[in-house]
């Protein structure tokens, strides 16, 4: 018998845990040529802002080993056009739509959330906390617990109960768990981990930064270990909060790694650029992987890596049983 992939994000049930990551599946129109959107676990929209935004000039991306750096500048049509054109399209396709909300001020986020309140096609909301805060020298909200909490609270206030709000965090912080806690306290029903890692490429021909935005976000398989670590850390600290894990997922086994670390769902981003039909393949591979491991229900695999399993050498065993859900300490790092 093959494994059941049904998963829950708080009050929402999804037929499978494989979503498309914000900003990586476009508006859905182009992706629909390669994937039946209704067969995906869900579709996360690009971050929606109150106004249309052209984004940054080209060059917007550079290829790097196992990944890419990109600085897009949050391009998008703004909430009006989104509601008129993109959301109805996604609903027509039968996509379970998770709307990513962005902004450069708490008021921006609140405004978008307010406009989403009565939209029944919205299945869940993701707050992209990794946007630059115009009021804080352009520091991203996600880099301070209080700023992150402010935007989450602003969104949560406007969104109907029953529609879960996920806070999407950046890994570029000294203490991710503290930020996650602050978001949970501010009403986040779950967390999305991770947004891109701050990186940069220099063009060795022009001898200048490769991106018009100088630095950009590193994404793709290269960052997978950072993402898995983030999910594992946060799940250890907040085991009751559902997590959407993402960062470099390219195969079903990659998705399983995130599930074992503690994610209830996963999102596929950069891989869609390489392989636009990847999401359906990953669903299939994940199902096969669970079945091969005798795991009947996806839910049983969530966070499994936190528990001891099979043969455990005595010392490791001692560690694991005294602290079954322990956060990896910083001493558990390299060297």
């Amino acid at each position: 018998m093959s494994a059941s992939l049904i998963t829950r994000l708080g009050p929402v049930e999804l037929p499978n845990p494989v979503l498309t990551a914000s900003g990586c599946g476009g508006t859905g129109r182009d992706l629909a040529q390669f994937a039946d959107l209704s067969r995906l676990g869900g579709f996360i929209t690009p971050s929606v802002l109150p106004q249309p935004r052209a984004g940054r000039p080209t060059p917007r991306m550079a290829e790097t080993p196992g990944g890419m750096v990109s600085a897009m500048g949050l391009p998008g049509p703004g909430i009006d056009t989104f509601l008129r054109r993109d959301l109805p399209f996604l609903a027509e396709q039968g996509a379970r739509t998770i709307v990513s909300v962005g902004g450069n001020s708490v008021a921006d986020y609140a405004e978008v959330a307010r406009r989403l309140r009565d939209e029944t096609a919205v299945c869940a909301v993701e707050v992209n906390v990794a946007c630059p805060n115009a009021e804080d020298r352009g520091l991203v909200f996600a880099s301070r617990p209080s700023a992150a909490a402010d935007v989450v609270r602003a969104v949560r206030t406007h969104i109907r109960p029953g529609v879960p709000v996920f806070a999407k965090l950046s890994p570029d912080v000294s203490d991710l768990v503290t930020i996650a806690l602050a978001c949970a306290d501010a009403g986040a029903d779950g967390l999305s981990l991770i947004n891109t890692v701050l990186g940069m490429a220099i063009d060795t021909t022009t001898l200048r930064p490769a991106l018009s935005g100088v630095s950009g976000g590193l994404s793709g398989p290269a960052i997978r270990p950072i993402a898995v670590r983030s999910v594992y850390q946060v799940h250890a600290a907040l085991p009751q909060l559902p997590i959407i894990g993402m960062g470099g997922i390219a195969t079903g086994l990659d998705a399983l790694e995130f599930i074992l670390a503690g994610a209830s769902a996963v999102a596929v981003g950069t891989t869609l650029f390489h392989d636009p039909s990847a999401a359906a393949r990953i669903v299939r591979e994940l199902e096969e992987a669970l079945t091969a491991r005798g795991i009947g229900r996806l839910a049983d695999a969530v966070g499994l890596a936190h528990r001891p399993y099979g043969f455990v050498p005595p010392q490791v065993h001692a560690l694991s049983t005294t602290e079954p859900n322990h956060e990896p300490k910083t001493e558990e790092r390299a060297q």
């Binding site: 599946g25 992706l31 984004g55 990944g67 990109s70 398989p221 650029f273 636009p276």
Partner: protein, 288 residues
């Protein structure tokens, strides 16, 4: 369509490479001006971005083959030149909007620069089938880097070849010979594919003469695109719409064929201040 195509041949054509693969589903759907997006580096690769190439020609052999021509300029294309027959390639296509064809048998001037010339031959066939006249202008730095000069001479109603070093045809640049070619061909429409700078000049000259021009932005897409399928938004350029509003369009999914007179050539690599959704900060800068 995303397919796994079997490589038939990789051959050198002057200073370029031509790769032919079996891909019936792509061959069948292809219309001139469209492109394919190819995954490079093999199964274990750390290179994630697809490389986009305008299709040179499709044939019905082996159920349907697709050939594209490329310049070897990065490790991804170097990998492609190393493919052997029977290897497989992961290819997505046909992608993008094709050249729009005139309904009536008008006179057409097809302008190619470097490897971009390859995209014009399937267009020439389609135009011929509609009874159009097809005149060529092909240019490049030297004889090895002008694609299809002989074919153009064979199939074209006329063909002008121009190289920077004069090693074949006359010495000079495409833009230089264009006014004469427009006059000689009495062109009703211009189609162009080649270096972005060439497209800019061709658009400029054609507009000056009031002749509509369609350009295929293959090179811009190669330099800027990550996916080719319209998902990533890395390949945008400012284009003026019918409503007069400048929008950032995607070279892949909104192109690669665009009306040359609508592209804001001198603003490539920027977000023009009056573009839809341009950053407010810049507006402020301009006002203050």
């Amino acid at each position: 369509m995303q397919v796994s195509g079997t490589v038939l041949t990789v051959r050198e054509v002057g200073g370029y490479h031509a790769l032919t693969l079996v891909a019936p589903a792509i061959a069948e759907r292809f219309r001139p001006g469209q492109f394919v997006a190819v995954a490079v580096g093999g199964e274990h690769t750390g290179r994630l971005l697809r490389r986009c190439f305008a299709v040179y020609e499709v044939k019905s052999d082996y159920g349907g083959t697709v050939e594209f021509v490329f310049a070897d300029r990065d490790p991804g294309t170097a990998w492609l030149t190393g493919r052997r027959s029977r290897d497989t390639l992961d290819v997505v296509g046909p992608l993008g909007r094709p050249f729009r064809l005139p309904r009536d048998p008008v006179s057409c001037l097809l302008v190619g620069g470097g490897p971009g010339g390859a995209a014009l031959f399937s267009l020439a066939d389609a135009l011929h089938r509609r009874g159009c006249q097809v005149h060529f202008v092909l240019g490049g730095p030297d004889a090895a880097h002008v694609f299809g000069a002989r074919s153009a001479q064979r199939i074209g109603d006329s063909a002008t070849v121009v190289t920077t070093d004069g090693s074949v045809g006359s010495r000079g640049e495409v833009a230089g010979v264009l006014p004469q070619a427009l006059a000689d061909s009495r062109a009703d429409v211009v189609y162009a594919c080649g270096p972005t700078e060439t497209l800019r000049q061709v658009s400029q000259v054609s507009s000056d003469y009031g002749i509509p021009v369609q350009v295929c932005l293959e090179e811009f897409l190669q330099a800027n695109g990550a996916c080719g399928t319209g998902l990533c938004l890395t390949c945008v350029l400012p284009v003026i719409g019918d409503d007069g509003v400048t929008r950032m369009l995607r070279a892949c999914a909104d192109g690669p064929v665009l009306r040359g007179e609508r592209v804001r050539w001198s603003d490539l690599g920027t977000i023009p201040l009056e573009a839809l959704g341009a950053p407010r900060a810049l507006h402020v800068m301009e006002d203050s």
